[in-house]
Symmetry: C2
């Protein structure tokens, strides 16, 4: 294996090219299950008899079910997004991995519930292994860290903030039940301890764990009101607002820190925010760095956030550090060698060509900042990572990793846990996470994919490379060849930024047009042409997605881009938003120059046709 | 169809009797998908070529994937619970419905994300229809109510409490932004308004919706500290504690209301609790009634809670009413006729025999209280219902229904929503619920099952009947024939209570033994014999689950039962808990007297062998 994994063997294919492989394994997995049922106490007779099966009622019920399944298939085909084709360049969607689809299917037949080990020994063990995979991916220390699967990134973010909130309140609880341990410390000092300091402090009174928890933020709103502010970049996902609402921290305590032209959190703005809060003696509960913003694919400079963190720690001001890598988390695999060591930057390019991560020597990625940001992830307290995004796993599969598994105790509902079969698996996982019942099948799906594609340069790294290289191809093509002559008008395609990751945002504008409303309208109309709105999905020949960057959310970060497209500042201030088209390049095939060229021909023709529909109609 | 649905056509069968039906439809659904890919722009060429497929790397990658899938299948067979056999009578698990499994599989191939309509038109519409199904099942008013699928019951309960918390804070917010609307009202009065009053009040200032929300509990901890206490029965699931922690309401504000001998909330205790709080001017945020407690299957007397609610409303004291029917929600289908009318109690028995809901005229179910409790569900503000429990849907599929869809606005993240294609489907469902990304496949799975089995007496009602009747058979058998002679000892099986629903709890005790520690030890050892702990799963011949009823959680509600088994009160006070064995009878086959007799023979032999292992070893 090693260097030679072929991604093409891991997908069904845009034209179902690997149908035989899929079908053969599907059949095997079902046959195995079927015989497993039969051979559990082979001496037990059947319950459904041939006479039952030939009865009128049985046949009518079966017919009805088959009619429903036929209807289901029809609805799915009519109303689903054809993301399997490179003609789709929109939402974070594409083909998913065959091992993941089949892993899910197989495990559904056994239907384990990973809420409790007892209900799902096999898939609970898989979830524990997947958690360990995540830790390895983040270069967290084995044994000290922990991770699990959850429903999605919103839940993982919520769980991360829950950890932060409950931990931040512990020093206040210690002051109540063991004041001698924090003698002489002011409330400000107690609310400014680092995560490690807090955990070490709590470790001093293991016999008072339950009491400590009972006096923490979980007791009620009083302590929550003291924990301070939660800082997110302006590119924030709305799940952060939701999380703050739900956790009682409150929207009033979420601060959106300005981003720069590159849509990454500005370090000046971060410092300024912390200084202002400190001056008012308001603690910073936590700072979120985003690895792959949902709208731009921007990767925050986590290494710089860590510098800021160290600066303030030296002054006695600490905060929790969560990384929202729901989108970009898996991309860390592209930086890990076969022994899971982070590859030195100067060796990357050669390795990428050696391992076939990139096919073309001219592909330029990553920037030094992006490289350093991914490296810095290992210092985060918690990280959100979604297998259903860059893990190419079917929905829904989210995940969270925690750097120090002692943290689990402060959100958990049973103080004791059982060690089963030599593995450190909670007997009741539901008591250690936000959710309760959860599909063992999700764990099986992710586990199977991780076993087929190691989370390093030989496996997932290669898949990430295909996607990143495809997006690089699309970005350079859009940048260098984005000119469409439509009747007597010329339309220019402006890409937003050179992508930090695999998302290409862009807008169309008429050559010479300086009216932002006209430009926004053109792009909105283009979106309608390139989505289900006007042309349906199955008959559409190019599909993309869209978003708005509005002053309300983004401040004036988009201004320079708007200026580069034609409209001036006055226009920006008047319209207050710019409508953006958004292509998340997940297709694993667009790294190949020939495939790319072939599809760009089709996509260019489709773009021209859509612009004609808008302009010449 | 109508009266004649045959449940046997809807399951794969304990011996894979319906393997052919499953396989044929599986193949059809996959073939349809495969051709759908191929026929999207048939003019586009393949990307994975025959040359690719015969390359060494492709073959090596494929081999590796197939090796992983083989390993997966082995792990699943070795470490999964054989709930397909009636020899399994433990956790809430059994065969799941073929239409649900196939529906999930088919939709996974299309991989819609129901977070946004745009990513999943087909499955978003199915989720909307499933929500409407839930509303119909609860006799909520069509058009006014709403429901959706969520990850599980813990999330649904959390969402229910979130609704309650944010709504309760609205009158305080109104006082700040439109004080004229609540002129003369005290804070106590504002915190004691009914849900309808609150919604009507907020409706008066539609232009100030955003401002209102910004001043509600979502702003932060201050308002949350005022909303009051959350009352749950002592049989509470731990998800309620977790939810109170997460939502900032706090564990200090959850009150466990005593239950009676029947494990239903005591109305005297409820009144007493409200009176005590009222005397201290502490509001009651909400009361939870449980339909099917996790450990006993107890159904709280919701109709009596409604009486209490009305009594206090007359005194100006109102509270939110959430029904946790995660477990029992689907059982409401057994009370609905073909037109979804709630069947008069006096007609039930005849209807059950006419429609084949019960096979045996002597089956006695439900009690009048249970009948009235199910009827009263239509008055709840929100209801948790888990398809992955009594819906016979694979994990994970939870759900929640809200009586008045205006409530959505107060937990939502975008004030506006778009009406698509004539359906009232939020364009961004993720902004109206707790989760974000979510599998369209779950919606497809539930939708397919609901279409195959209507949520009334002809469909799901019949499936519920099979389960309830099976549990009735098991209960009466245990009650009347639970005597095992093991060497020179006699062991008696004591069922806990006549089940409100389909769960049979029981304990073993030595005849004449009055030592509770000895009895608990016997039952714990029995559990170890009848689970994965000592005998593994696949080779085990009877599998059940267990739980502890401890004074800390249950108070002295279990005392009378303990007394009936032999030990006296002193023993109870000394041990502080009783270990219970727990059989959730989900098998759809044990309503048949012959099947039941055959398997009870096997189960009795297995019980005897296990008791011998314990006693004679």
């Amino acid at each position: 294996m090693d260097k030679n994994m072929d991604l093409k063997a891991l997908f069904l294919g845009p034209k179902s090219e690997n149908k035989d492989i899929f079908e053969q394994n599907l059949k095997m997995l079902f046959e195995d299950h079927s015989q497993w049922r039969k051979n559990y106490h082979p001496e037990d007779d059947t319950i459904i008899k041939p006479n039952d099966r030939s009865s009128e009622n049985f046949i009518a019920t079966r017919n009805r079910m088959e009619q429903v399944l036929t209807e289901l298939s029809s609805k799915l085909r009519a109303g689903s997004v054809p993301w399997h084709s490179p003609r789709f360049q929109g939402h974070m969607n594409s083909e998913t991995l065959v091992p993941a689809i089949l892993g899910y299917f197989a495990a559904t037949l056994y239907n384990g519930n990973n809420v409790a080990y007892e209900s799902s020994p096999a898939t609970s063990e898989m979830e524990e292994e997947v958690g360990a995979d995540f830790c390895k991916l983040m270069s967290y220390k084995a044994g000290e860290s922990w991770g699990h699967i959850c429903a999605d990134g919103s839940i993982a973010n919520l769980e991360g903030m829950w950890y932060a909130r409950n931990l931040a309140s512990l020093p206040l609880a210690v002051k109540e039940i063991a004041p001698e341990l924090v003698e002489g410390k002011t409330e400000w000092e107690l609310l400014n301890m680092s995560v490690d300091q807090i955990l070490d402090l709590a470790d001093k009174i293991p016999e008072k764990l339950d009491e400590l928890k009972a006096k923490s933020a979980r007791a009620g709103a009083d302590k929550i009101s003291k924990v301070g502010k939660w800082l997110v970049p302006q590119t924030k996902h709305y799940s952060w607002l939701k999380a703050a609402d739900i956790l009682g921290i409150g929207l009033d305590n979420v601060i959106a820190v300005e981003v720069g032209d590159n849509y990454r959190m500005s370090m000046d703005a971060l410092r300024k925010t912390i200084d202002e809060l400190t001056a008012k003696q308001i603690p910073v509960l936590g700072v979120v760095g985003v690895v792959g913003s949902t709208e731009e694919g921007a990767v925050d400079d986590l290494h710089k956030i860590l510098e800021v963190k160290a600066e303030y720690a030296a002054k006695g001001i600490n905060f929790y550090f969560h990384v929202d890598a729901a989108y970009g988390g898996y991309a860390r695999a592209i930086f890990l060698d076969e022994e899971y060591n982070f590859i030195p930057q100067e060796e990357l390019h050669a390795k990428y060509l050696e391992y076939g991560v990139f096919q073309n020597a001219e592909t330029q990625w990553p920037s030094t900042d992006t490289y350093e940001a991914f490296k810095a992830m290992s210092q985060a307290d918690t990280i959100t990572i979604d297998p259903h995004k860059m893990g190419y796993i079917p929905y829904s599969a989210g995940g969270i990793v925690i750097r120090d598994k002692r943290m689990r105790d402060y959100i958990s509902y049973f103080a004791t846990y059982v060690f089963e079969q030599g593995m450190d698996i909670p007997a009741l996982l539901g008591a250690f996470i936000l959710e309760g019942s959860k599909a063992g099948a999700t764990a099986a799906s992710v586990w199977t994919a991780h076993r087929a594609l190691p989370l390093n340069i030989t496996g997932y790294g290669k898949l990430m490379g295909a996607s990143v290289e495809g997006s690089y191809n699309l970005y350079t093509r859009f940048r260098d060849h984005g000119r469409y002559v439509i009747g007597d008008k010329v339309v220019i395609l402006h890409p937003l930024v050179r992508p930090d990751f695999n998302m290409v945002d862009f807008v169309f504008n008429y050559e010479g047009n300086t009216d932002l409303a006209v430009m926004n309208d053109l792009n909105h109309q283009f979106y309608e042409e390139a989505s289900y709105v006007r042309n349906g999905l199955y008959s559409n020949d190019f599909i993309t997605s869209h978003t708005d960057f509005a002053v309300e959310d983004y401040g004036h970060s988009p201004l320079n881009f708007v200026l580069s497209c034609g409209p001036d500042k006055e226009q920006w201030l008047k319209e207050q938003k710019v409508t953006i088209l958004r292509a998340c390049v997940l297709s694993p095939y667009l790294n190949n120059k020939e495939v790319f060229a072939e599809y760009m021909g089709k996509i260019d023709a489709a773009i021209t046709k859509k612009l004609e529909n808008i302009i010449l109609k």
